[in-house]
């Protein structure tokens, strides 16, 4: 039995890689590729008549495999299926770090899942509140209700858009410039930031289109996403590269944090770094940059 530490609500989540929970060869060591989170899938990847088998596999994988620092999240079946309650029981009993709510459309959906999670936590003697939640928005209604979803629970750490279903609803298809989902991505990001949670982009499915993938990841970073869902380990590296801060940003961030610690100890609230006015509002951003830099192996200093 591998005891997993209490999940952190806010941690680095640049890459979340989907894995079919029913495939023993895949789930046994998905963490070796260095993604931040793995997403064991009970939903689309698992055939309708293997949902039961997938849960048994998932339970033993969660209990047996040492995933180390990699976060383990499970995508459960939709609330309109007969599977989701048992999915939640197995996730909680197995000690998954978090649950991804598929096809989430309202705060009510989050509450429904949260209630079942809490019951399961009590049933299996798991600390109440341990299991985190995130929501996948896959429909126009989900996007329109993004803020109420994002702020529906203290367990919510993030929200993600699911491109395949969403594009179908919108009667569009993948566009290279991202115009098909521009508004939805924007709205979801605004909602997530307003609620103070993280925000993740959808998967990029054409594994042979390296240029298209890179363009999309760059756009994700520019828009302010925290990370991206992935379908193949070979996508991990590029996302980590693009989401890494530049050396200049790291140096600047360190200066800001250092100056802030010194100045605030001396009781000063506003000061300048390299001629630029800095106050407390800059600190969380600078600290985030240093933390990210540390995760990327770029920073070993004292402030991250």
């Amino acid at each position: 039995m591998i005891p997993r530490p209490r999940p952190e609500r806010f941690r680095l989540r640049r890459t979340m890689m989907f894995m079919n929970a029913q495939k023993p060869g895949l789930i046994k060591d998905a963490y070796i590729y260095g993604c931040d989170s793995i997403m064991l899938d009970l939903e689309d990847a698992v055939a309708e008549n293997q949902k039961d088998a997938a849960r048994f596999s998932l339970y033993h994988a969660l209990k047996t495999i040492d995933y180390g620092d990699t976060e383990v999240i499970v995508r459960i079946n939709g609330l309109d299926t007969p599977h989701w309650q048992e999915d939640i029981r197995v996730c909680v009993a197995g000690g998954a770090d978090g649950i991804r709510i598929a096809k989430c459309e309202s705060a009510n959906d989050v509450h429904t899942v949260e209630k079942a999670v809490e019951e399961a936590e009590k049933e299996f003697g798991v600390e109440v509140g341990r299991t985190l939640l995130m929501a996948a928005l896959e429909s126009p209604k989900g996007i329109l209700n993004a803020y109420e979803i994002c702020s529906a629970s203290e367990r919510m750490f993030g929200v993600a858009i699911s491109g395949g279903d969403f594009r179908k609803c919108m009667q569009t298809s993948f566009q290279r410039d991202g115009v098909d989902m521009m508004v939805a991505r924007g709205q979801m990001l605004i909602a997530a930031r307003a609620a103070g949670i993280q925000c993740f982009d959808t998967v990029f499915t054409n594994l042979d289109d390296n240029e298209g993938f890179e363009a999309e990841v760059r756009q994700n970073k520019a828009m302010g996403f925290d990370g991206k869902s992935l379908i193949n380990p070979k996508q991990i590296r590029l996302v980590h590269e693009i989401f890494a801060p530049t050396e200049k940003e790291v140096i600047q961030a360190e200066k800001i944090v250092r100056a802030y610690r010194e100045q605030s100890a001396a009781g000063v609230g506003v000061f300048t770094v390299d001629g630029k006015m800095i106050d407390i509002a800059f600190i969380p951003g600078a600290e985030r940059t240093l933390k990210l830099a540390k995760a990327c192996g770029m920073y070993e200093g004292e402030f991250a």
């Binding site: 060869g25 046994k28 060591d29 070796i32 590729y33 040492d66 193949n232 380990p233 070979k234």
Partner: protein
């Protein structure tokens, strides 16, 4: 008697001057008496050496029971010739007590298993043994222990007369009427014929079997007419689809790519990675993919590879055509890109197995290798590698050039996933030692890199550029923590195969396996 890799070799095998393995380069400086064949003179000019059938050729060469027939394995899994010859010898001519001395044997030769069970084939000398034949030999059905040699060890043994070839059968993609053979220009092309060359020089009789007769003279010849007694034309010598794959594709498997990238990183961290370096890689997923990443580092540093050897396939030919490698010297071809390039692309040359890897000649190509990247079925905490027996104890592989390139090269890198299914690749003791640990320098797995403590210089190289590495013991523990510690295999006393080190000493023996009964 225990040998230098800790294997117990039965004293009963240590006869006729045979010794146990004593360590790397033990035979250095010793003299050998080369064997010479007893060959027939053909003074009267002959217009043609073509005979009607394999049976006729066998009769003409005085084939009889108890003889040793040799074959090369350039037709790989597409080969028809071994089966054709053995069927004719055993079923049509009624010969018995035959020994097959092949450069390798594979699943194409499953029918020979039957002759082993019937006791008609009593000896096997080969590098590779797989499929049904591997099973029947592992089950103790062969009358005498099989002798397994590396690609360099085989020409050494032939030259030293330890294998005396009565008749060498040369499967030839093209031949002229007097037996000048080439590996190209026909319908079952294999490219290089490097493994056939020593056989042709040292066999008492040589029979060429071809499915494409071409005009005399078929030049430049890989096997020369001056060594050939007879030529037989058959409908087909092999299945071209299984001789050479269309093109060896570089793996897209993310695990392979991750390991391949680390291999290239390790190579690029050493002082041997400089203008004109030399390189060999296997054709397995991660080994071949290493080419791709190595090219990136070569471009970055602005250096070129001086030469590459080995079994060759498309990606290396491509580097040659791009001018990123100076010369390719080729003992065997694995895909059509390589087959179509040898002796055609400038600076793509053919060589014999002896030139490639023989430890007893005056300096084979492997001795000048900077880097070799190789796979493994198992590797133990002493860095000993097994590429011959499965972890279930059954013969299913081939030392090939593994021990030769490992011993000759400056840096030998083994690349393998930590586990395959439930098999721990990194383990406490390999089932069979095919490549001694003192020839193996770096292990790259999907769970981390380990450097042989015998190479502190390489450890320093890795540390200098910040490539993380761990002890091989910790990798073994990780493997066992994933798959569970395997039970020890149970063996009977009977030795079913002798594994010769490349220098001719005994490196290991394979005994008959006692299967677990559930």
């Amino acid at each position: 008697m225990r040998n230098a890799v800790g294997r117990d070799i039965p004293d009963s095998l240590l006869v006729n001057g045979r010794e146990v393995y004593q360590g790397k380069n033990y035979m250095d400086g010793k003299y050998i008496q080369k064997a010479s064949p007893r060959t027939k003179r053909y003074e009267t000019p002959r217009e043609s050496k073509i005979v009607d059938s394999i049976a006729q050729a066998l009769k003409d060469c005085g084939a009889k029971s108890g003889m040793t027939f040799s074959f090369h394995h350039h037709l790989r899994n597409g080969d028809y010739v071994v089966n054709m010859v053995m069927q004719t010898a055993i079923e049509d001519l009624g010969l018995e007590d035959l020994t097959i001395a092949a450069s390798s044997l594979g699943e194409a030769h499953d029918p020979i298993a039957e002759y082993i069970e019937q006791g008609k084939v009593v000896g096997i000398q080969t590098s590779g043994i797989r499929g049904r034949m591997g099973e029947v030999v592992s089950n103790g059905k062969l009358k005498t222990p099989a002798i397994i040699r590396s690609h360099g060890g085989r020409p050494r043994a032939i030259e030293a007369g330890e294998v005396h070839i009565d008749i060498a059968f040369i499967a030839a993609p093209t031949s002229d009427c007097v037996g000048n053979c080439r590996g190209i220009g026909g319908k079952s092309n294999c490219g290089s014929m490097g493994y056939a060359m020593t056989d042709a020089k040292y066999a008492d009789h040589v029979v060429v079997i071809t499915d494409c007769l071409v005009d005399f003279p078929n030049m430049p010849a890989s096997v020369e007419a001056i060594d050939v007694d007879a030529v037989v034309v058959v409908d087909s010598i092999g299945n071209p689809k299984k001789i050479a794959s269309a093109a060896a594709r570089i793996s897209q498997n993310p695990r392979d790519l991750m390991m391949a990238e680390n291999v290239a990183k390790v190579i690029a961290s050493t002082p041997y990675f400089k203008e004109g370096f030399s390189f060999q890689t296997g054709v397995g997923g991660p080994s071949l993919a290493a080419n791709l990443f190595l090219e990136k580092y070569m471009d970055e540093r602005g250096i070129k590879m001086g030469w590459a050897i080995g079994g060759i396939c498309g990606p290396m030919v491509e580097l040659l055509k791009k001018g990123k490698v100076g010369k390719v010297i080729d003992v065997q071809d694995f895909d059509l890109d390589a087959v179509n390039s040898i002796n055609q692309t400038p600076n793509h040359f053919e060589m014999s197995a002896s030139q490639y890897a023989n430890p007893a000649n005056k300096g084979a190509f492997v001795n000048k290798l900077d880097f070799v990247v190789l796979a493994a079925l198992e590797i133990d905490t002493g860095f000993n590698v097994n590429v011959l027996t499965g972890s279930d104890g059954v013969l299913r592989g081939a030392p090939g050039g593994h021990p030769d390139t490992a011993a000759g090269s400056k840096v030998c890198i083994i690349v393998t996933p930590l586990t395959r299914g439930r098999m721990a690749t990194v383990c406490e003791h390999v089932v069979t030692v095919t490549t001694p640990g003192d020839c193996v320098d770096v292990l790259v797995t999907d769970y981390g890199i380990a450097v042989n403590p015998l190479r502190p210089d390489l450890i320093e190289c890795l540390d200098k550029v910040g490539i993380p590495h761990v002890s091989i013991e910790s990798l073994k523990e990780k493997a066992y923590s994933l798959v569970g510690r395997p039970d020890d295999l149970e063996w009977e006393d009977k030795v079913v195969a002798i594994l010769e080190a490349r220098d001719g000493t005994i490196l290991d023996v394979i005994r008959k396996i006692k299967p677990y009964q559930a």
